[in-house]
Symmetry: C2
Subunit: 307 residues, 2 copies
């Protein structure tokens, strides 16, 4: 029997890792020889879920053509998000919830995509359809992935099927979904363990705004006060970065992913232009932006337009 290696996308998140572990279990239950692998290490949020439900992180692989196997893709289909040597591999299964693009096979395959918020919601349905009992720890991972992708049901991508699946899985797993989900999301936004420099630099990018050089970073969290209480050290680090690199202004988005609001910490000049861009005032170095979570869609365009 040809072995099936199952894996999610590069830079794996909780759904990518969980869906691979779960689909490998599903295939094994159907008498197939399947193993979950991963294209990277779990992030802190995912590690929290793996630890809680006592799973080892999947073995990390860079290529698979050398392993004499066929493959199953979860939570992705596009070539550039997949394993390096995907073009040399035979894809037998895809379970996904994204658009289809840059994907092609020579032979018929099993492909299951649905426009829901999480791959694990589809897997939950597949277990039900096939009449396979969902073990407690598998249900726990399913619930974790759905909480993660849906930001505890707050994301606009979340459907009623995701909510129903997560609640059913939480019951099997014996967890309080709201409490567990929040703890898991918090583990993924653990700012306590990071230095001010790590927080400020982790995800920052430089943008040329007209003649101005502006730096914009983002830190996700589930409690704005925890970050705001570290304002002094963040401002020190941002001021240092401005001086060293000639940024005219440094904007750090402190984003609460649960309440979907951003406190924008502004260090440097250009205050009038920035206030005008967002039609909000800066008070005590902060601009409060309810409903804003995306740098790409909600911060850069108004700034570009202004400058």
């Amino acid at each position: 029997m040809t072995k099936i290696k199952v894996f999610g996308h590069r830079n794996p998140d909780t759904d990518a890792i969980s869906s691979a572990i779960i689909f490998a279990h599903y295939l094994n239950e159907q008498g197939k020889d399947a193993e979950a692998v991963a294209l990277g290490a779990p992030n802190e949020e995912t590690q929290y879920a793996l630890d809680y439900f006592k799973f080892d992180a999947p073995r990390i692989v860079e290529t698979l053509a050398n392993e004499d196997c066929e493959v199953a893709l979860t939570d992705h289909n596009e070539r550039q998000q997949s394993i390096e040597d995907i073009d040399q591999l035979t894809v037998r299964y895809v379970i996904d919830h994204h658009r289809i693009a840059n994907f092609e096979t020579d032979e018929p395959l099993y492909y299951r995509a649905e426009p829901v918020g999480c791959t694990c919601t589809i897997l939950y349905k597949m277990y039900k359809e096939a009449g396979i009992d969902i073990p407690q720890n598998i249900a726990g991972l399913m619930a974790s992935a759905i909480c993660s992708d849906s930001l505890l049901f707050k994301s606009p991508t979340c459907t009623h099927e995701d909510v129903d699946a997560a609640k059913a899985c939480a019951e099997i797993a014996g967890i309080d979904i709201k409490k567990y989900g929040l703890d898991m999301l918090k583990a993924g936004t653990n700012v306590k363990s990071k230095t001010a420099a790590q927080l400020v630099n982790a995800d920052a990018k430089t943008f040329d705004m007209g003649e101005h050089k502006v730096r914009v970073g983002q830190v996700n969290c589930v409690d704005l006060n925890e970050l705001k209480s570290r304002k002094a050290e963040l401002v020190d680090e941002m001021t240092k970065q401005n001086e060293e690199n000639g940024f005219e202004s440094f904007l750090l988005m402190l984003t609460n992913i649960l309440t979907k609001e951003t406190a924008l910490l502004v260090v440097g000049g250009l205050h009038p232009e920035i206030e005008k861009a967002f039609e909000h005032t800066i008070e005590d170095d902060f601009m409060s932006l309810p409903g804003v979570v995306s740098r790409k869609k909600q911060i850069i365009p108004p700034l570009s337009k202004q400058f």
Copy 2:
């Protein structure tokens, strides 16, 4: 509610027409507004099934961007097999059993493909999974499509899931699957209604074999004797074609799609070369070729090699 138009591939066969009618019914049962359409008229086999189970042939469309709708593809996904203006349409569903290629969407969608012999086998499973009762006439169309695609379970593409689905559908529809299936396949290979010229020319192609011009045609049937009994008129027509067009030999494959055998009617010269190519003798103008059904894969390559 946006209307969903459901259609199978160009030059529709029984699975293409049936799967569109059935998936539109499935969507309607789920409270969606769906209509089956088609990219061509039903062939004689399909018309037999539609008449038997009292369905109208779907309305034929050439474009859909003008109809303010979204679409569902059945029994195909590749752009070149689909509707002319597919690039201007939003695909919301695909139900298919082919490889995936030349297909891309901007948004997530419902995509269900399985490596089985017939699209209607997947639809049968989807009704079961969703707990939707399969009406008698819908079950009849499902059974028809599976009989067609699997050549009454004899095709190498037929899986045990196809057999199980067809039998279950036949029971719901109240038909004897072997008898009904054979009658339907026969309707699709109705040679009685065609003239010798129609049979000889319908599917014939000219091949340059070295310095020789050879014509090869094919007629599918479920009863070789019916065709063989018309040998005299077929030979007359083939002789005429050879004289008019300078073919050195005309080979007409009379293929029994049920027993998977071909009687090759050879009219003209090159007998020694043809006998050598297939390692069989020509007796009374016929060469008997058990197991041969494909011109492209089983006739042209040995001939090319010989000349």
